[in-house]
Symmetry: none
Subunit: 226 residues, 2 copies
DNA sequence: AATTAACTTCAAAATCTCTTCAAAAAGCGA
DNA sequence: TCGCTTTTTGAAGAGATTTTGAAGTTAATT
Protein backbone atom coordinates (compact mmCIF):
# COMPACT_ATOMS: atom_id res chain seq x y z
CA UNK A 1 0.00 0.00 0.00
CA UNK A 2 1.32 3.36 -1.00
CA UNK A 3 0.80 6.52 0.98
CA UNK A 4 1.54 10.17 0.44
CA UNK A 5 2.06 12.23 3.54
CA UNK A 6 1.55 15.97 3.12
CA UNK A 7 2.85 17.57 6.25
CA UNK A 8 4.85 20.72 6.81
CA UNK A 9 6.14 19.94 10.27
CA UNK A 10 9.42 18.22 9.67
CA UNK A 11 9.90 16.19 12.81
CA UNK A 12 6.34 15.03 12.95
CA UNK A 13 6.50 14.02 9.32
CA UNK A 14 9.53 11.89 10.03
CA UNK A 15 7.90 10.21 12.98
CA UNK A 16 4.77 9.42 11.09
CA UNK A 17 6.45 8.19 7.95
CA UNK A 18 8.94 6.17 9.93
CA UNK A 19 6.21 4.44 11.82
CA UNK A 20 4.09 3.75 8.79
CA UNK A 21 7.07 2.47 6.87
CA UNK A 22 7.69 0.01 9.65
CA UNK A 23 4.11 -1.06 9.47
CA UNK A 24 4.76 -2.04 5.90
CA UNK A 25 3.56 0.89 3.88
CA UNK A 26 5.45 2.67 1.18
CA UNK A 27 5.37 6.24 2.37
CA UNK A 28 6.40 9.40 0.62
CA UNK A 29 6.48 12.77 2.22
CA UNK A 30 6.11 16.22 0.75
CA UNK A 31 6.20 19.49 2.57
CA UNK A 32 4.07 21.93 0.64
CA UNK A 33 0.90 21.99 -1.32
CA UNK A 34 2.58 22.64 -4.63
CA UNK A 35 4.83 19.64 -4.28
CA UNK A 36 1.93 17.53 -3.16
CA UNK A 37 0.01 18.16 -6.32
CA UNK A 38 2.95 17.47 -8.56
CA UNK A 39 3.74 14.30 -6.65
CA UNK A 40 0.34 12.93 -7.47
CA UNK A 41 0.82 12.88 -11.20
CA UNK A 42 2.04 9.57 -12.49
CA UNK A 43 2.22 7.69 -9.24
CA UNK A 44 -0.58 5.71 -7.84
CA UNK A 45 -1.13 6.38 -4.19
CA UNK A 46 -3.77 4.56 -2.27
CA UNK A 47 -4.25 7.05 0.53
CA UNK A 48 -3.09 10.62 1.08
CA UNK A 49 -2.53 11.82 4.62
CA UNK A 50 -3.17 15.51 4.46
CA UNK A 51 -2.27 18.08 7.05
CA UNK A 52 -4.54 21.08 6.71
CA UNK A 53 -2.00 23.55 8.04
CA UNK A 54 0.31 23.99 5.09
CA UNK A 55 2.61 26.97 4.59
CA UNK A 56 1.44 27.81 1.10
CA UNK A 57 -2.29 27.39 1.31
CA UNK A 58 -4.97 25.88 3.41
CA UNK A 59 -4.51 22.32 2.27
CA UNK A 60 -8.16 22.28 1.49
CA UNK A 61 -7.20 23.09 -2.08
CA UNK A 62 -5.11 19.97 -2.24
CA UNK A 63 -8.05 17.96 -1.06
CA UNK A 64 -10.22 19.51 -3.71
CA UNK A 65 -7.63 18.79 -6.34
CA UNK A 66 -7.24 15.17 -5.34
CA UNK A 67 -10.93 14.53 -5.24
CA UNK A 68 -11.53 16.06 -8.64
CA UNK A 69 -8.55 14.53 -10.39
CA UNK A 70 -8.02 11.25 -8.56
CA UNK A 71 -11.29 10.18 -7.05
CA UNK A 72 -9.91 6.72 -6.30
CA UNK A 73 -7.37 7.98 -3.83
CA UNK A 74 -8.50 8.01 -0.22
CA UNK A 75 -7.81 11.10 1.84
CA UNK A 76 -7.28 11.21 5.57
CA UNK A 77 -7.13 14.69 7.03
CA UNK A 78 -4.87 15.19 10.00
CA UNK A 79 -4.94 18.56 11.63
CA UNK A 80 -4.23 20.44 14.79
CA UNK A 81 -7.12 22.68 13.92
CA UNK A 82 -9.73 20.84 15.81
CA UNK A 83 -12.31 23.24 14.55
CA UNK A 84 -15.53 21.61 13.67
CA UNK A 85 -15.65 23.84 10.63
CA UNK A 86 -12.65 22.21 9.06
CA UNK A 87 -13.90 18.79 9.80
CA UNK A 88 -17.26 19.46 8.25
CA UNK A 89 -15.79 21.19 5.25
CA UNK A 90 -13.20 18.49 4.79
CA UNK A 91 -15.66 15.67 4.88
CA UNK A 92 -17.94 17.66 2.63
CA UNK A 93 -15.20 17.97 0.06
CA UNK A 94 -14.85 14.23 0.07
CA UNK A 95 -12.23 13.42 2.68
CA UNK A 96 -12.64 9.90 3.97
CA UNK A 97 -11.79 10.58 7.56
CA UNK A 98 -10.60 13.26 9.92
CA UNK A 99 -8.04 12.73 12.66
CA UNK A 100 -7.29 15.52 15.12
CA UNK A 101 -3.83 15.88 16.63
CA UNK A 102 -2.45 14.53 18.79
CA UNK A 103 -3.14 10.93 17.98
CA UNK A 104 -1.77 7.48 18.52
CA UNK A 105 0.22 6.28 15.58
CA UNK A 106 -1.58 3.00 15.85
CA UNK A 107 -4.81 4.85 15.43
CA UNK A 108 -3.49 6.46 12.31
CA UNK A 109 -2.60 3.03 11.08
CA UNK A 110 -6.05 1.72 11.89
CA UNK A 111 -7.71 4.58 10.07
CA UNK A 112 -5.57 4.22 7.00
CA UNK A 113 -6.41 0.56 6.94
CA UNK A 114 -10.08 1.37 7.42
CA UNK A 115 -10.08 3.80 4.52
CA UNK A 116 -8.31 1.35 2.35
CA UNK A 117 -10.68 -1.42 3.26
CA UNK A 118 -13.67 0.79 2.73
CA UNK A 119 -12.42 1.59 -0.73
CA UNK A 120 -12.36 -2.14 -1.34
CA UNK A 121 -9.27 -2.32 -3.41
CA UNK A 122 -9.02 -6.03 -2.80
CA UNK A 123 -8.17 -5.11 0.78
CA UNK A 124 -5.72 -7.94 1.05
CA UNK A 125 -2.32 -7.69 2.51
CA UNK A 126 -0.76 -9.88 -0.12
CA UNK A 127 0.78 -8.71 -3.34
CA UNK A 128 1.41 -11.54 -5.72
CA UNK A 129 3.48 -11.32 -8.84
CA UNK A 130 4.30 -14.57 -10.57
CA UNK A 131 6.59 -16.51 -8.27
CA UNK A 132 6.96 -13.58 -5.89
CA UNK A 133 4.56 -13.10 -3.00
CA UNK A 134 4.77 -10.19 -0.62
CA UNK A 135 2.74 -10.17 2.55
CA UNK A 136 2.80 -6.67 3.92
CA UNK A 137 1.33 -7.74 7.25
CA UNK A 138 3.83 -10.40 8.14
CA UNK A 139 6.50 -8.53 6.16
CA UNK A 140 7.37 -11.70 4.41
CA UNK A 141 8.55 -12.24 0.87
CA UNK A 142 8.26 -15.69 -0.63
CA UNK A 143 9.92 -16.63 -3.91
CA UNK A 144 9.38 -20.10 -5.31
CA UNK A 145 8.27 -21.42 -1.93
CA UNK A 146 11.32 -20.20 -0.07
CA UNK A 147 11.04 -17.26 2.28
CA UNK A 148 13.57 -14.58 1.57
CA UNK A 149 15.54 -13.14 4.43
CA UNK A 150 15.43 -9.50 3.39
CA UNK A 151 16.70 -6.52 5.27
CA UNK A 152 14.41 -3.60 5.77
CA UNK A 153 15.79 -1.56 2.91
CA UNK A 154 15.73 -4.52 0.58
CA UNK A 155 12.14 -5.19 1.47
CA UNK A 156 11.13 -1.61 0.93
CA UNK A 157 13.04 -1.45 -2.29
CA UNK A 158 11.30 -4.53 -3.64
CA UNK A 159 7.93 -3.17 -2.62
CA UNK A 160 8.69 0.11 -4.30
CA UNK A 161 9.84 -1.55 -7.47
CA UNK A 162 6.80 -3.79 -7.62
CA UNK A 163 4.33 -1.02 -6.95
CA UNK A 164 5.91 0.84 -9.84
CA UNK A 165 6.53 -2.15 -12.01
CA UNK A 166 7.54 -1.53 -15.61
CA UNK A 167 8.29 2.04 -14.75
CA UNK A 168 11.84 3.27 -14.90
CA UNK A 169 12.97 4.53 -11.53
CA UNK A 170 16.04 6.68 -11.27
CA UNK A 171 18.43 6.06 -8.46
CA UNK A 172 17.54 9.50 -7.28
CA UNK A 173 13.86 8.81 -7.04
CA UNK A 174 14.51 5.49 -5.36
CA UNK A 175 16.71 7.25 -2.87
CA UNK A 176 14.11 9.89 -2.21
CA UNK A 177 11.36 7.36 -1.84
CA UNK A 178 13.19 5.03 0.48
CA UNK A 179 15.00 7.58 2.55
CA UNK A 180 12.52 10.39 2.46
CA UNK A 181 14.94 13.24 2.91
CA UNK A 182 15.58 15.72 0.27
CA UNK A 183 18.55 14.61 -1.76
CA UNK A 184 20.88 16.71 -3.76
CA UNK A 185 21.05 15.94 -7.44
CA UNK A 186 24.83 15.64 -7.36
CA UNK A 187 24.93 12.93 -4.78
CA UNK A 188 26.16 9.65 -6.12
CA UNK A 189 23.36 7.42 -4.92
CA UNK A 190 25.76 4.57 -5.30
CA UNK A 191 24.45 3.14 -2.06
CA UNK A 192 21.13 2.53 -3.76
CA UNK A 193 22.87 0.10 -5.97
CA UNK A 194 24.10 -1.96 -3.07
CA UNK A 195 20.54 -2.76 -2.19
CA UNK A 196 19.59 -3.45 -5.79
CA UNK A 197 22.45 -5.88 -5.98
CA UNK A 198 21.59 -7.66 -2.76
CA UNK A 199 17.95 -7.87 -3.71
CA UNK A 200 18.75 -9.33 -7.10
CA UNK A 201 21.03 -11.88 -5.59
CA UNK A 202 18.49 -13.02 -3.04
CA UNK A 203 15.66 -13.26 -5.52
CA UNK A 204 17.63 -15.23 -8.09
CA UNK A 205 19.20 -17.41 -5.43
CA UNK A 206 15.70 -18.49 -4.43
CA UNK A 207 14.91 -19.39 -8.02
CA UNK A 208 13.16 -16.22 -9.12
CA UNK A 209 13.77 -14.54 -12.41
CA UNK A 210 16.00 -11.49 -12.53
CA UNK A 211 13.19 -9.01 -12.85
CA UNK A 212 15.18 -5.97 -11.92
CA UNK A 213 16.46 -4.58 -15.14
CA UNK A 214 19.05 -1.87 -15.36
CA UNK A 215 18.28 0.86 -17.84
CA UNK A 216 21.66 2.17 -18.66
CA UNK A 217 21.79 5.88 -18.03
CA UNK A 218 18.34 6.19 -16.57
CA UNK A 219 17.83 3.81 -13.72
CA UNK A 220 16.13 0.53 -12.95
CA UNK A 221 12.82 -1.04 -13.57
CA UNK A 222 10.98 -4.10 -12.45
CA UNK A 223 10.26 -5.79 -15.75
CA UNK A 224 7.19 -7.97 -15.61
CA UNK A 225 7.57 -9.16 -19.21
CA UNK A 226 10.44 -11.58 -19.07
CA UNK B 1 -8.17 -7.14 30.28
CA UNK B 2 -8.52 -4.27 27.89
CA UNK B 3 -11.32 -1.75 27.94
CA UNK B 4 -12.43 1.04 25.67
CA UNK B 5 -14.23 3.90 27.32
CA UNK B 6 -16.37 6.01 25.03
CA UNK B 7 -17.32 9.07 26.98
CA UNK B 8 -17.54 12.71 26.01
CA UNK B 9 -17.47 14.21 29.48
CA UNK B 10 -13.83 14.84 30.14
CA UNK B 11 -13.67 14.85 33.91
CA UNK B 12 -15.87 11.84 34.28
CA UNK B 13 -13.82 9.98 31.71
CA UNK B 14 -10.69 10.69 33.71
CA UNK B 15 -12.23 9.52 36.93
CA UNK B 16 -13.49 6.32 35.45
CA UNK B 17 -10.37 5.44 33.52
CA UNK B 18 -8.17 6.34 36.47
CA UNK B 19 -10.11 4.06 38.74
CA UNK B 20 -10.24 1.18 36.31
CA UNK B 21 -6.56 1.51 35.57
CA UNK B 22 -5.87 1.13 39.27
CA UNK B 23 -8.00 -1.97 39.26
CA UNK B 24 -5.60 -3.43 36.76
CA UNK B 25 -7.34 -2.87 33.46
CA UNK B 26 -5.76 -1.39 30.40
CA UNK B 27 -8.11 1.43 29.59
CA UNK B 28 -8.24 3.62 26.54
CA UNK B 29 -10.55 6.55 26.24
CA UNK B 30 -12.06 8.17 23.20
CA UNK B 31 -14.32 11.12 23.07
CA UNK B 32 -16.49 10.84 20.01
CA UNK B 33 -18.32 8.22 18.09
CA UNK B 34 -16.19 8.52 15.00
CA UNK B 35 -13.03 7.95 16.99
CA UNK B 36 -14.60 5.07 18.85
CA UNK B 37 -15.30 3.17 15.68
CA UNK B 38 -11.85 3.66 14.26
CA UNK B 39 -10.28 2.62 17.54
CA UNK B 40 -11.95 -0.72 17.28
CA UNK B 41 -10.33 -1.75 14.04
CA UNK B 42 -7.39 -3.98 14.59
CA UNK B 43 -7.39 -3.84 18.36
CA UNK B 44 -8.79 -6.39 20.65
CA UNK B 45 -10.85 -4.92 23.38
CA UNK B 46 -12.69 -7.12 25.78
CA UNK B 47 -15.35 -4.72 26.90
CA UNK B 48 -16.49 -1.32 25.66
CA UNK B 49 -17.98 1.11 28.13
CA UNK B 50 -20.31 3.22 26.07
CA UNK B 51 -21.86 6.49 27.02
CA UNK B 52 -25.00 7.03 25.00
CA UNK B 53 -24.75 10.81 25.09
CA UNK B 54 -22.09 11.50 22.52
CA UNK B 55 -21.57 14.82 20.78
CA UNK B 56 -21.65 13.45 17.27
CA UNK B 57 -24.45 10.92 17.38
CA UNK B 58 -26.53 8.96 19.75
CA UNK B 59 -23.96 6.33 20.61
CA UNK B 60 -26.50 3.76 19.66
CA UNK B 61 -24.85 3.67 16.27
CA UNK B 62 -21.60 2.73 17.90
CA UNK B 63 -23.31 -0.11 19.70
CA UNK B 64 -24.81 -1.32 16.48
CA UNK B 65 -21.46 -1.15 14.80
CA UNK B 66 -19.69 -3.08 17.52
CA UNK B 67 -22.26 -5.80 17.63
CA UNK B 68 -22.27 -6.31 13.91
CA UNK B 69 -18.52 -6.13 13.39
CA UNK B 70 -17.09 -7.43 16.66
CA UNK B 71 -19.63 -9.70 18.30
CA UNK B 72 -17.03 -10.95 20.76
CA UNK B 73 -16.63 -7.60 22.45
CA UNK B 74 -18.84 -7.00 25.45
CA UNK B 75 -20.68 -3.69 25.72
CA UNK B 76 -21.72 -1.96 28.89
CA UNK B 77 -23.91 1.06 28.38
CA UNK B 78 -23.51 3.90 30.82
CA UNK B 79 -25.85 6.78 30.44
CA UNK B 80 -27.47 9.68 32.18
CA UNK B 81 -30.50 9.13 30.08
CA UNK B 82 -32.30 6.92 32.46
CA UNK B 83 -35.07 6.58 30.01
CA UNK B 84 -36.42 3.10 29.83
CA UNK B 85 -36.48 3.53 26.09
CA UNK B 86 -32.76 3.61 25.80
CA UNK B 87 -32.27 0.71 28.09
CA UNK B 88 -34.63 -1.47 26.17
CA UNK B 89 -33.30 -0.42 22.83
CA UNK B 90 -29.73 -0.86 23.99
CA UNK B 91 -30.22 -4.33 25.30
CA UNK B 92 -32.18 -5.17 22.22
CA UNK B 93 -29.26 -4.18 20.08
CA UNK B 94 -27.10 -6.57 22.02
CA UNK B 95 -25.63 -4.57 24.87
CA UNK B 96 -24.61 -6.80 27.75
CA UNK B 97 -25.63 -4.53 30.56
CA UNK B 98 -26.94 -1.07 31.32
CA UNK B 99 -25.69 1.17 34.10
CA UNK B 100 -27.48 4.46 34.76
CA UNK B 101 -25.60 7.46 36.08
CA UNK B 102 -24.71 8.19 38.73
CA UNK B 103 -23.04 5.03 39.87
CA UNK B 104 -20.40 3.77 42.24
CA UNK B 105 -17.13 2.98 40.56
CA UNK B 106 -17.02 -0.30 42.40
CA UNK B 107 -20.30 -1.25 40.83
CA UNK B 108 -18.90 -0.44 37.42
CA UNK B 109 -15.99 -2.71 38.17
CA UNK B 110 -18.28 -5.52 39.27
CA UNK B 111 -20.35 -5.24 36.15
CA UNK B 112 -17.38 -5.21 33.84
CA UNK B 113 -16.08 -8.32 35.53
CA UNK B 114 -19.47 -9.93 35.26
CA UNK B 115 -19.72 -9.23 31.55
CA UNK B 116 -16.27 -10.55 30.98
CA UNK B 117 -16.91 -13.69 32.98
CA UNK B 118 -20.18 -14.33 31.24
CA UNK B 119 -18.54 -13.98 27.87
CA UNK B 120 -15.69 -16.21 28.80
CA UNK B 121 -18.05 -18.88 30.07
CA UNK B 122 -20.12 -18.94 26.96
CA UNK B 123 -17.18 -18.74 24.67
CA UNK B 124 -13.78 -20.20 24.52
CA UNK B 125 -11.90 -19.42 27.67
CA UNK B 126 -8.91 -21.37 26.54
CA UNK B 127 -6.55 -20.52 23.77
CA UNK B 128 -4.44 -23.43 22.72
CA UNK B 129 -1.48 -23.22 20.44
CA UNK B 130 0.68 -26.29 20.14
CA UNK B 131 2.31 -26.80 23.51
CA UNK B 132 1.05 -23.49 24.84
CA UNK B 133 -2.30 -23.24 26.57
CA UNK B 134 -3.69 -19.98 27.87
CA UNK B 135 -6.69 -19.92 30.10
CA UNK B 136 -7.99 -16.39 29.98
CA UNK B 137 -10.33 -16.95 32.91
CA UNK B 138 -7.85 -18.21 35.44
CA UNK B 139 -5.06 -16.24 33.74
CA UNK B 140 -2.91 -19.29 33.60
CA UNK B 141 -0.41 -20.25 30.97
CA UNK B 142 0.72 -23.84 30.64
CA UNK B 143 3.64 -24.88 28.48
CA UNK B 144 4.48 -28.54 28.16
CA UNK B 145 2.51 -29.40 31.30
CA UNK B 146 4.29 -26.88 33.47
CA UNK B 147 2.49 -23.77 34.57
CA UNK B 148 4.37 -20.60 33.82
CA UNK B 149 4.74 -17.99 36.50
CA UNK B 150 4.17 -14.92 34.38
CA UNK B 151 3.87 -11.35 35.49
CA UNK B 152 0.97 -9.29 34.33
CA UNK B 153 2.82 -7.62 31.51
CA UNK B 154 4.34 -10.86 30.36
CA UNK B 155 0.93 -12.46 30.29
CA UNK B 156 -0.60 -9.64 28.32
CA UNK B 157 2.32 -9.55 25.96
CA UNK B 158 1.97 -13.23 25.23
CA UNK B 159 -1.74 -12.86 24.66
CA UNK B 160 -1.18 -9.96 22.34
CA UNK B 161 1.46 -11.80 20.39
CA UNK B 162 -0.71 -14.88 20.08
CA UNK B 163 -3.79 -12.98 19.01
CA UNK B 164 -1.68 -11.42 16.29
CA UNK B 165 0.39 -14.44 15.52
CA UNK B 166 2.52 -14.30 12.39
CA UNK B 167 2.02 -10.58 12.28
CA UNK B 168 5.00 -8.34 12.77
CA UNK B 169 4.42 -6.10 15.74
CA UNK B 170 6.59 -3.06 16.18
CA UNK B 171 7.79 -2.24 19.64
CA UNK B 172 5.78 0.89 19.30
CA UNK B 173 2.52 -0.87 18.62
CA UNK B 174 3.19 -3.33 21.42
CA UNK B 175 3.78 -0.44 23.77
CA UNK B 176 0.61 1.31 22.72
CA UNK B 177 -1.49 -1.80 23.06
CA UNK B 178 -0.19 -2.90 26.43
CA UNK B 179 0.10 0.46 28.06
CA UNK B 180 -2.65 2.38 26.36
CA UNK B 181 -1.25 5.82 27.05
CA UNK B 182 -0.32 8.16 24.34
CA UNK B 183 3.21 7.41 23.31
CA UNK B 184 5.52 9.65 21.47
CA UNK B 185 7.19 8.30 18.40
CA UNK B 186 10.60 9.27 19.70
CA UNK B 187 10.45 7.16 22.81
CA UNK B 188 12.83 4.27 22.82
CA UNK B 189 10.45 1.51 23.85
CA UNK B 190 13.41 -0.43 25.08
CA UNK B 191 11.41 -1.52 28.09
CA UNK B 192 9.21 -3.54 25.78
CA UNK B 193 12.18 -5.69 25.04
CA UNK B 194 12.67 -6.55 28.70
CA UNK B 195 9.33 -8.25 28.71
CA UNK B 196 9.99 -9.97 25.41
CA UNK B 197 13.18 -11.33 26.87
CA UNK B 198 11.59 -12.55 30.09
CA UNK B 199 8.73 -14.14 28.23
CA UNK B 200 11.06 -15.95 25.87
CA UNK B 201 13.13 -17.24 28.72
CA UNK B 202 10.15 -18.54 30.62
CA UNK B 203 8.61 -20.23 27.62
CA UNK B 204 11.79 -21.95 26.53
CA UNK B 205 12.70 -22.87 30.09
CA UNK B 206 9.44 -24.79 30.30
CA UNK B 207 10.29 -26.68 27.14
CA UNK B 208 8.40 -24.58 24.62
CA UNK B 209 9.82 -23.55 21.30
CA UNK B 210 11.18 -20.06 20.89
CA UNK B 211 8.23 -18.77 18.97
CA UNK B 212 8.95 -15.10 19.44
CA UNK B 213 11.00 -14.12 16.48
CA UNK B 214 12.78 -10.82 16.18
CA UNK B 215 12.43 -9.16 12.83
CA UNK B 216 15.49 -7.01 12.65
CA UNK B 217 14.51 -3.47 11.93
CA UNK B 218 10.78 -4.08 12.17
CA UNK B 219 9.79 -5.66 15.43
CA UNK B 220 8.75 -9.04 16.74
CA UNK B 221 6.36 -11.70 15.69
CA UNK B 222 4.99 -14.89 17.11
CA UNK B 223 5.97 -17.37 14.45
CA UNK B 224 3.64 -20.34 14.38
CA UNK B 225 5.61 -22.09 11.63
CA UNK B 226 8.70 -23.34 13.35
C1' DA C 1 39.07 5.00 -27.83
C1' DA C 2 37.05 8.06 -24.63
C1' DT C 3 33.59 8.73 -21.45
C1' DT C 4 30.27 7.66 -18.48
C1' DA C 5 27.63 4.58 -15.80
C1' DA C 6 27.24 0.14 -13.60
C1' DC C 7 29.18 -3.13 -10.83
C1' DT C 8 32.51 -5.38 -7.28
C1' DT C 9 34.94 -5.49 -3.11
C1' DC C 10 36.06 -4.14 1.24
C1' DA C 11 35.65 -1.66 5.33
C1' DA C 12 33.90 2.10 8.23
C1' DA C 13 29.81 4.03 10.19
C1' DA C 14 25.35 3.74 11.77
C1' DT C 15 21.59 1.22 13.57
C1' DC C 16 19.33 -2.18 16.11
C1' DT C 17 19.15 -5.97 19.37
C1' DC C 18 20.44 -7.78 23.42
C1' DT C 19 22.78 -7.90 28.12
C1' DT C 20 23.55 -6.18 32.50
C1' DC C 21 22.76 -3.62 36.29
C1' DA C 22 20.20 -0.51 38.99
C1' DA C 23 16.50 2.71 40.13
C1' DA C 24 11.62 3.47 40.47
C1' DA C 25 7.11 1.80 41.13
C1' DA C 26 3.80 -1.38 42.56
C1' DG C 27 2.22 -5.09 45.45
C1' DC C 28 2.03 -7.32 49.99
C1' DG C 29 2.13 -8.78 54.75
C1' DA C 30 2.69 -7.20 59.26
C1' DT D 1 1.64 2.84 57.63
C1' DC D 2 6.09 0.82 57.21
C1' DG D 3 9.42 -2.18 55.34
C1' DC D 4 10.19 -5.99 52.24
C1' DT D 5 9.55 -8.36 47.85
C1' DT D 6 8.35 -8.41 43.20
C1' DT D 7 7.66 -6.15 39.04
C1' DT D 8 8.44 -2.62 35.87
C1' DT D 9 11.20 0.88 33.83
C1' DG D 10 15.50 3.21 32.66
C1' DA D 11 20.34 3.71 31.10
C1' DA D 12 24.87 2.39 29.54
C1' DG D 13 27.33 -0.45 26.79
C1' DA D 14 28.55 -4.94 24.23
C1' DG D 15 27.45 -7.56 20.25
C1' DA D 16 25.40 -8.27 15.90
C1' DT D 17 23.51 -6.67 11.54
C1' DT D 18 22.65 -3.40 8.27
C1' DT D 19 23.75 0.57 5.77
C1' DT D 20 26.81 3.64 3.69
C1' DG D 21 31.11 5.23 1.67
C1' DA D 22 35.25 4.89 -1.09
C1' DA D 23 38.34 3.07 -4.45
C1' DG D 24 38.93 0.38 -8.23
C1' DT D 25 37.22 -2.73 -12.17
C1' DT D 26 34.15 -3.88 -15.78
C1' DA D 27 30.70 -2.84 -19.22
C1' DA D 28 27.90 0.13 -22.29
C1' DT D 29 27.37 4.07 -25.35
C1' DT D 30 28.88 7.50 -28.62
Amino acid sequence: MKLLLVEDHDELANNISGYLAKEGYVVETVLGQQRAISKLTGFDYDVVLLDLMLPDGSGMDVLEYIKSHYPDIGVLIISAKNALDDKVKGLELGADDYLPKPFHLSELNARVKAIYRRRQMSGHSKMVFNEITIDTVTIEVVVCDTTLDLTRKEYELLLFLLVNKNRVLTKQSIAEHLWGDYMDAMDSFDFVYQHIKNLRKKITAAGGKDYIQTMYGSGYKFNSNL
